[in-house]
Amino acid sequence: MLFQKRSERLFIWIFFPLMLMMPLFLDGNIFYINKLSSILIFALFVMSLDYLVGRCGLITLGHAMFYGLGGYIFYIIAPQNEAVNFWVYTFYICVISAAIALIVGFLVLRTSGIYMIMITLAIAQMFFYYFSDSMEFGGIDGVFLYLKPETSFLGIKMFDLDNPTHFYYLCLFSLFNTLVFFKVIMASKFGRVVDATRENPERTTALGYNVFVFRLASYVIASALGAYAGYLFSMQYGFVNPSMLSWQTSGTALVMLILGGMGSIYGAILGTFAYEGLHYFFEHLTEHWMLFMGSAIILMVILLKKGIAGYIEKLLEKRS
């Protein structure tokens, strides 16, 4: 079975039906529908990070680089005054970002541990400065994307992206597919070796596997999906700016990941919602929300070692 843990199945059975019905509850309240869409997009991004950090054991502090690149690549390759096909451009963006990830990964994966953290951060910063210094890309303000893609597939128009509810369903659809995609990979023969490289790289080499190649493949997959999330984000509000690829974005994603529970994939969704919930709560409490957010993060690291997903699993284990 694809979803092995009870807590996981429980979560999926509650979360996705609930989210499917959400627009009915919200009754066309565009603000909240948009808010939810962007949370779903970010959850997708965090999910790709979870695969890298939780599953492959590769800690990166530069994953947001691909989030931003997803948006910028879209801006660069799409014609200005013509609506492009969503699916075709999804393919383009994944392929181009995968190619970039292949080159970056080749450099980054030569190192490990703390070096990798610092190098991923520094390379992401390089892209950050490139886009924020460049006049062509609007500097720190970024650039606008005026036209939303159309989504016809084999002649059938599926989503109207100008409609927030349609866009919301596209995000939910993408998130679900990503979840299933990662679960399939993790249960596959490839996933077996990935697990092995995380748990004991030395032994895995001794058994005859080229650990580097498996890490590189994983890095490319996670990066392409991270870029896909950025592509969705840029489409939602119609702009791309350098803050998408800032280290704060990477850091926030890591915090969400830990909050949700690493390595479980679905925990990424939990973590994103929990973080956004906390953020919303503190923000309405005080303008100095960062003080509370920071303290919450510190407390979380010290107290909640396995995240919310780990906590739920523990509760369910006790009951059964």
């Binding site: 950090v53 800690i59 502090l61 450099l107 030569r110 190192t111 541990g113 703390i114 070096y115 953290i117 610092m118 190098i119 951060l121 520094a122 390379i123 910063q125 390089m126 400065y129 490139y130 210094d133 280290w247 704060q248 850091g251 890591l254 915090v255 830990i258 690493m262 100095h288 929300w289 960062m290 003080l291 957010m293 920071g294 303290s295 919450a296 993060i297 510190i298 979380m300 690291v301 010290i302």
Partner: protein, 287 residues
């Protein structure tokens, strides 16, 4: 580029590099001795600059405000190590990253709570406000030379401490073999506190020294942190000597890139880093 302009850029680069070294040395020392990656290290630089501004506007004495700031930074260092960093000694890198990100949030919030979000600045102390004429049209500010001299003095003090004193001996032992130092029955926890507090103080002093040269704004620490990362990665993590060489290299390359390659200036040091890592994945002075 004329010779005098070249000369000025060279001094600028050296001076920037020395300042970077002051901050990066703490980062690399804490990593080398304690195995901790402190992302909040840049925040200490910011705190130093804000403290200098705050006390300068109240006391009107740069020296006094510098001393007060350094002492406060030292206390913050001790406090933070005793309460938070201590939790991390037997945790993985990820927990270190997260906890120190949390600390960045808290420091940023405290900064905006205590001092607001408007850009601030202080003027160069009167005694050091002059310029040294180089040619008929070019001159160099005394304060920048003063900063470079202070940095060199502090670097020398650091060198002396690490190589000639008992504390330095423990630091070196801790770098090469942490378990051994623990086994020798040395009060490792006090050593850690001292090392961390010194690191924090050096970063804060760099902030104080920069205060008259830059505008004091929220987020200034994060910018510097990334530059220090590049320095530490190029130099080899945990190596003070490496940090010194790399800091000067980064300082000079960055300064000249701004003049010679303005369109990609801010990327040049990262490209430099990538090139060095291709050849030496663990930095120039790693063992």
């Amino acid at each position: 580029m004329t010779t005098s302009l070249f000369f000025i850029q060279l001094i600028n680069g050296l001076q920037y590099g020395l300042l970077l070294f002051l901050i990066a040395s703490g980062l690399t020392l804490v990593f080398g001795v304690m195995g901790i990656l402190n992302l909040a290290h840049g925040s200490m630089y910011m705190v130093g600059a804000y403290l200098a501004w705050y006390f300068f506007t109240h006391t009107d004495s740069f020296l006094l405000s510098a001393i007060i700031s350094a002492v406060i930074a030292l206390s913050i260092g001790i406090l933070v190590e005793r309460t938070l960093i201590r939790q991390l000694y037997h945790r993985n890198h990820l927990d270190q990253v997260l906890l120190t990100i949390g600390m960045i949030f808290v420091f940023n919030a405290l900064q905006s709570l205590l001092w607001g979000n408007d850009p601030q600045g202080i003027k160069v102390p009167d005694l050091l406000s002059g310029s040294i004429p180089l040619t008929d049209t070019l001159s160099y500010p005394v304060y920048r030379i003063f900063v470079a001299v202070i940095c060199i003095l502090l670097a020398a003090a650091l060198y002396y401490t690490i190589n000639k004193t008992r504390l330095g001996m423990l630091i070196r032992a801790g770098e090469s073999n942490r378990e051994m130092v623990e086994c020798l029955g040395i009060n490792i926890s006090r050593l850690y506190t001292i090392v961390f507090a010194i690191g924090v103080m050096l970063a804060a002093i760099a902030g104080v020294l920069s205060a008259p040269m830059v505008s004091i704004v929220p987020g200034m620490g994060e910018h510097v942190l990334i530059a220090c990362f590049v320095v530490v990665v190029i130099g080899g993590m945990g190596s003070i000597k490496g940090a010194f060489v790399a800091a000067l290299l980064v300082g000079i390359v960055d300064t000249f890139a701004a003049v010679l390659l303005p369109s990609i200036a801010s990327m040049v040091v990262y490209i430099l880093m990538a090139l060095i890592l291709l050849v030496k994945p663990k930095g120039l002075f790693s063992n």
